[in-house]
Symmetry: C2
Subunit: 516 residues, 2 copies
């Protein structure tokens, strides 16, 4: 009998009907049962006459299944065994934990250090491989990217495949693309695509989606969450002008195809509010389809440009935020957590780089500062790089290699974060304008009954006074978040003056020693 690990994908592939439009004309579904627990999932057509059903088991033991639908005359049945999840990176799905935190399904803390390469899966295979190599040695454990290709500044090349075919499954005429000279984004009802691609939005391109399968699996096996963006505004192919039937079919296709990967998150949109062809009603309908068709209830959110979506909607698991003010944003993390009672994930806080726009020319120091602000206030943040490149390969969209100074500092941040009892800080009160992240009572068997990180951000203090109460004893560390050093100041009590190097981005960590 076939064995798989818990939270891996069990896939059944069956030949079926090929006449008409198999994507639309036939259905396939699978029913998976373990003891009295039954889960039904939709399958999908993968081209070449093959239909597939995928399933992610979340329990150990024996499952039986039954595949049926109009795609074939017969029913397929079978069984498989699920063993313990003992692969290094297999901890199940990321879930909301303690209302505002994140953790893997097996209880392992999920310390989210995200990055963004919107269109990396649309680049040449060589570049995609390089991106994977870079990710492999990086700290990132979440990456945001788009299923649809991207057209935007620095993103003028055509994707290597399109999500749709023409006519009854014909490919795109390359000459058509070469003829096109226009740099433009297609907005609603404005005009047809720059090129008459003549896409059939009822006919998916399996090659396109198979590559996403592969990349999602590779990310999964590296312990990286795939924060998949279903729709976005940067379109020249008419993808934002698809009718409602096609949009809904697309959402269902993605659910059937990718849900069984434990590492997927659903980001309904990037910058939903500038996709002017969609209404809130559309987003809510997509959300409803996702809630129905993803039986695993992966993380779900929707990302804004100028205006947050209403994160209080029950289908939204976490706030996937882009800053809506140029000057103050991550500094509100604790307030948003309080307001929405959900994890706050700052998926866009500007990128390290040097391009012409304010969101893409931050010094690494400032990006790192924003990560620390989010972390100390109980949230997490996402990275990106936008350094000019002679081949227009910018990490933020294309992947490739990292050129900046921030990603190394994020490794250091992760180390500090891992040392926090419970891996979660709440914002405390700083008496000298610093930001303070606090663990009020560490219950995790650590040696500390209280734990605080005081962060001075852009300030450059030369010293800091500490006032401990009678009977209290603390281990004190000075942390240089930029130069990535931790200097132990030993055990302290009473009133202590801590000398600091008069540099920016310093922190002091206070660990109150449990008295025996």
């Amino acid at each position: 009998m076939q064995y798989i690990e818990k939270w891996d994908v069990f896939e059944v592939a069956i030949p079926g009907k090929k006449d008409g439009n198999p994507f639309m004309d036939y259905n396939i579904r699978g029913t998976f049962q373990k003891e009295d627990k039954v889960i039904t999932v939709d399958g999908f057509y993968d081209g070449d006459g093959i239909y597939k059903v995928r399933f992610m088991p979340s329990e150990e033991g024996r499952y039986i299944y039954r595949i049926e639908g109009s795609f074939a005359e017969s029913v397929t049945e079978g069984e498989f065994l699920v063993r313990n999840a003992d692969s290094y990176h297999n901890h199940g799905c990321v879930r909301v934990f303690n209302e505002t935190q994140l953790a893997y399904e097996d209880g392992t803390p999920y310390i989210s250090i995200g990055t963004t390469c919107y269109a990396w899966v649309h680049q040449s295979m060589e570049l995609q491989e390089q991106t994977l190599e870079t990710l492999r040695s990086s700290v990132f454990n979440k990456i945001r990217f788009c299923i649809f290709p991207k057209f935007y500044d620095f993103n003028k090349r055509e994707p290597i495949t399109y999500p749709y075919m023409r006519g009854n499954g014909e490919g795109i005429d390359e000459n058509l693309v070469k003829k096109d000279e226009k740099d433009r984004i297609i907005y609603p009802g404005m005009e047809p695509p720059a090129i008459d691609f003549n896409f059939n939005y009822y006919w998916f391109n399996p090659e396109h989606f198979r590559r996403f399968d592969m990349r999602i699996r590779q990310l999964r096996d590296m312990g990286i969450e795939a924060d998949i963006i279903l729709m976005h505004p940067y379109d020249r192919w008419g993808l934002n002008m698809m009718n409602r039937e096609c949009c809904d079919a697309y959402i269902r296709y993605v659910m059937a195809r990718f849900s069984a990967y434990r590492n997927v998150w659903w980001s309904l949109a990037n910058e939903y509010d500038i996709i002017v062809t969609k209404t809130i009603g559309d987003w809510e309908r997509y959300a409803q389809i996702i809630c129905e068709k993803d039986p695993y209830h992966h993380m779900r959110s929707i990302h804004n440009c100028l205006k947050f979506y209403d994160y209080s909607k029950t289908w939204i698991t976490h706030c996937s935020m882009q800053r809506i003010d140029y000057y103050r944003h991550v500094e509100y993390t604790d307030e948003y957590i309080k307001q929405y009672k959900k994890p706050v994930v700052w998926d866009e806080i500007g990128y390290e780089g040097n391009i012409h726009v304010g969101w893409g020319n931050l010094p690494a120091q400032e990006l790192i500062r924003r990560f620390w602000e989010a972390f100390l206030r109980g949230g997490c943040a996402g990275h990106g790089e936008t350094y000019l490149d002679k081949n227009d390969i910018l990490w933020w969209s294309h992947g490739g290699i990292l050129k900046g100074e921030s990603s190394e500092r994020l490794k250091f941040l992760k180390k500090i974060w891992q040392e926090v009892p419970g891996n979660y800080l709440k914002v405390g009160k700083g008496i000298f304008d610093e930001v303070v992240g606090v663990v009020e009572s560490a219950n995790d068997g650590s040696n500390y009954s209280n734990y605080e990180i005081h962060y001075f951000g852009i300030g450059q203090p030369a010293f800091r006074m500490l006032y401990f109460s009678e009977g209290e004893e603390y281990e004190v560390d000075v942390i240089d978040t930029w130069n990535m050093t931790i200097t132990c100041m030993g055990r302290c009590k009473g009133t202590v003056k801590i000398e600091l190097p008069q540099r920016q981005y310093m922190a002091i960590r206070l660990k109150r020693i449990k008295l025996v």
Copy 2:
């Protein structure tokens, strides 16, 4: 006949009654007349049996005057001539101009670059002289300081004089001061002063106020506005526990004594909202006394700590603001200008320095950035330095010398500001997240019909695209606000790519050439 310059002080000193408490028991007033214009001002007792009346004429020509009151049996009359204000720094009082701007009375633009040395006039005479020397070669044309001494961190030394005497004009017993060991600020109704100074709050110390006369005159002759703080919270001498009668008498004494200096501004309080002994009713009453007793209507405001005063009050000429948010403040300048329809003067936006508190450990770069933000949005800002010093001499409170890097950059800012047609920018719309200050139509006879400064702040763009309309031609300069360089890029039209050095704090200045 005596001659004085317009906007200088005409002073009459007359011996008078010395029995009882001359500060309270007798009055003196002067009536000054030119043609049909009559102004009456209060005089004041200056000790040693001498009463004084001061008057600032604002017109050229012959004035007659009459001094009278209960201080003497007889009336004194006389006349004097007022000639043109031809001293280098004599432009009259600073006034509100065009609703939200500042200018001197003679129409000269007032480009406000302020600084703060709260307690400089309470330091040793040598240190005060050094402060004046520093100011002489600095860019500052406004300084904030307190009449009452200051007790606070780094401010634990007693002042060289007190504003009040004991008993019937006796001085302070030096031994009393030496005995005191307590570091504490006197808050409301809490307790009496740390030392029983036994001040008679009805009996001013003329020596104290004479020194302020001298310093205000010296500042005036250097072209520096004296932003005089009447009350503040940092008290150990019971000055915030004076009764209403004494407070009102103090305000009247200050008006009679200092109003005739053209360079005074009235700051009713520093951090009014943490002087818990005062109510809004008290501040409003002081304001009323000031409006009545200052016939020249000097600039009037009140400075906050955590909560702005209601700047819409008609007696307030300008918003004297301290940031109420740690992260975003000067970036609201244009919004406050719009809200209050008054000039916005950021008197406290943090200081360059390295002390333990967030407001006092900014890098110079950040302080300069804040000045530029305020300037580009139509406001102005104030400087301060808080570098640790082995003798606890910090510019922000004690004066002395400047150690930082910001004051030189403020000279550069002033130069750029002076070059702006009309010396005033309104905020414009930046398309790439930059802040833009704009002169929409320069009417001052300059060669430019449109003038813009685009400032990139903490961003580090490597280039910037400019898109000019058909027929437009601009002179373009790249400004490095930190390194203080201006690089002329020549005349530009059409679409232009401007290379930038990928450094923070850069700006681009665009001057549209008038077509003849």
